[in-house]
């Protein structure tokens, strides 16, 4: 085959993301090498976690944090999926054209809100299910003079984290689901309506099953965003990596990103550049997080393929 310059040029440019990806993974592996011989695998994948703030020696069990990530991400999905579905179904099936367009535009714009804004304003929602002593509605006066107290000592709750993460991922999920619903062939919808099925029945039995690959893709995207987010978690969840006592104690639950932030010194600057071992464990934790993201990616791809096969000839 004759080599043309467009082919050579686009090859050279196209290979750069691959190299950068290898660089990212290589750096993470390189820096976590200390972990491999200073901390055993048995300890890493155990529930024993202790940091020196509590007077003990360092112990790095990551399972409590992995559990925390699962909890927070599942909660975020449990909130954002119904809302995104409602938005998508309403915008594409129930609303008139103009209302749907306005809703889509608003949502598209909201996708531009940076995560740190959600973190910064999470105190608005702090009263929701979080502080038992909170007994009055926040007034406008309260909101006009928000507290700037040290965030590390603020009331924490994984439920608040889940709510804020859900708010962050809804503007990304809803348009994807909306697109999947609009791509359902009109002939199937018409056939269902012509058979005397109502709109709601058609949505439940024809449109949503057909849009399922798209919905799964949207969920996976939301999952990735919620999993990797450090900032919202820093504002809302406790980030010490402890196993909560009792295990359902949401005020004491830390996702993996929180633990990474704490160990690497992002959220605890006194530690920054001081301890090679904690830094190394935080790099190892990013690898664990990447592994979890890969599992989600694989599962989502498999499910999508399966459903696509089921719903097309």
């Amino acid at each position: 085959m004759r080599r043309s310059w467009p082919r050579a040029l686009s090859f050279m440019l196209g290979i750069i993301p691959v190299l950068l990806l290898l660089l990212v993974i290589g750096v993470a592996v390189w820096f976590s090498s200390l972990t491999f011989y200073r901390v055993g695998w048995g300890e890493l994948f155990s529930f024993y976690y202790q940091n020196y703030r509590q007077g003990g020696w360092w112990e790095f069990g990551l399972l409590p944090s992995i559990m925390g990530t699962l909890y927070v991400v599942l909660l975020a999905l449990a909130i954002s999926l119904p809302v995104s579905l409602a938005i998508a179904v309403y915008a594409s099936e129930y609303a008139s054209g103009a209302v749907g367009r306005v809703l889509r535009t608003i949502l598209g714009t909201l996708a531009g809100i940076p995560p740190i804004i959600y973190g910064l304003t999470s105190f608005i929602f702090l009263g929701f299910f979080v502080s038992p002593s909170f007994t009055r509605v926040k007034t406008v006066v309260d909101l006009a003079a928000p507290p700037l107290h040290p965030i590390l000592d603020q009331q924490k709750s994984a439920i608040l984290g889940g709510i804020m993460l859900a708010l962050m991922i809804i503007p990304f999920m809803a348009p994807l689901i909306d697109e999947a619903i609009r791509n359902v062939p009109a002939r199937l919808k018409e056939a269902s309506l012509a058979l005397g099925a109502g709109k709601w029945h058609t949505i439940g039995h024809i449109i949503l099953p057909h849009a399922l690959p798209g919905i799964i893709g949207a969920c996976a995207l939301g999952c990735f965003k919620a999993m990797g987010d450090l900032i919202i978690v820093a504002f809302t969840c406790r980030s010490n990596g402890q196993l909560p006592q009792p295990w359902w104690d949401v005020s004491n639950l830390s996702p993996l990103t929180g633990t990474i932030g704490w160990l690497s010194g992002i959220l605890y600057p006194a530690l920054l550049g001081k301890n090679d071992l904690t830094l190394s464990v935080s790099y190892f934790s990013t690898l664990v997080l990447l592994g979890m993201a890969l599992i989600v990616l694989g599962l989502a791809t498999l499910l999508q393929r399966w459903f696509r096969k089921k719903y097309t000839a």
């Binding site: 002939r187 056939a191 012509a194 109502g198 039995h205």
Partner: protein, 247 residues
């Protein structure tokens, strides 16, 4: 029970352009009425406004009256209307479910409790499909041939015992053999249900229809018994069209 469909001064417009202009005629109960005309003349629009599927299209306005069994369609509950007036589309569009689920879809949507296997059998029999599919009821409908899929769509709309069935060029995607089978099933339905068939195939209209309406540029030119229209049309446009002078 077949029902008479009466169209009175029907006008349909999309985005302000009139597609159907002041059409009035009657489709007798239990008979087959064919609507013929060149493509783009408003046949399909007319058909889709009978079961109000035209409302799915944006900016579509329907004026006039359509009476099914003496009731004005435009004032009816759309779901109840579509249970009375079934429809078969140009492209076969079975659901990605099993054959049995396809046939029972309307019944289940309407939450009617009856003997399901009876309905499956009788609907498939009327669509001349029972012998072929008797032992394949749980297979996916997407595995069928195009002709079988179209007859399955007919069976599907028969299952909810409609009074009228609208067919929008049902044979245009089919090969000649499948077309014959479809026409056979149309013959077997005659009398139980009022059939309205839109077609641009004049031979087909001649074979299956009792009455024929000729529509040109959104206007009804002529509506009469099929034999009369084909043998001795009143209007010169009809004659020209039937002789193939324009299409």
């Amino acid at each position: 029970m077949p029902a008479t469909v009466e169209i009175k001064h029907l006008s349909v417009s999309y985005n302000g352009t009139n597609v159907v202009k002041d059409v009035s005629f009657e489709m007798p109960a239990g008979k087959v009425t064919a609507i013929i005309g060149p493509s783009g003349c408003g046949k399909t629009t007319l058909l889709r406004s009978i079961n109000r599927l035209s409302e799915l299209t944006k900016n579509c306005r329907v004026q006039g009256e359509i009476m099914v069994d003496g009731e004005n369609v435009l004032k009816m509950d759309t779901v109840l209307l579509r249970r009375k007036v079934g429809m078969v589309f140009q492209q076969p569009n079975p659901f990605p479910k099993s054959i049995k689920e396809n046939v029972l879809y309307g019944i289940k949507a309407a939450k009617i409790k009856t003997d399901h296997s009876d309905i499956v059998k009788s609907s498939l029999q009327k669509a001349v499909l029972w012998e072929e599919l008797e032992h394949r009821l749980n297979e996916s409908a997407l595995n069928l041939s195009i002709g079988q899929q179209q007859r399955l769509c007919v069976a599907r709309s028969l299952a909810i015992t409609p009074e009228v069935i609208l067919m929008d060029e049902p044979a245009s995607a089919l090969d000649p053999v499948s077309t014959l089978k479809l026409e056979e099933s149309i013959q077997s339905m005659k009398g139980d249900v009022t059939l309205v068939i839109v077609t641009h195939n004049m031979q087909q209209a001649k074979r299956v229809a009792d009455y024929t309406a000729f529509i040109y540029r959104g206007e009804l030119i002529e509506c009469n018994e099929t034999e009369k229209i084909f043998a001795n049309p009143d209007r010169s446009e009809t004659r020209d069209y039937l002789e193939g002078k324009f299409s």
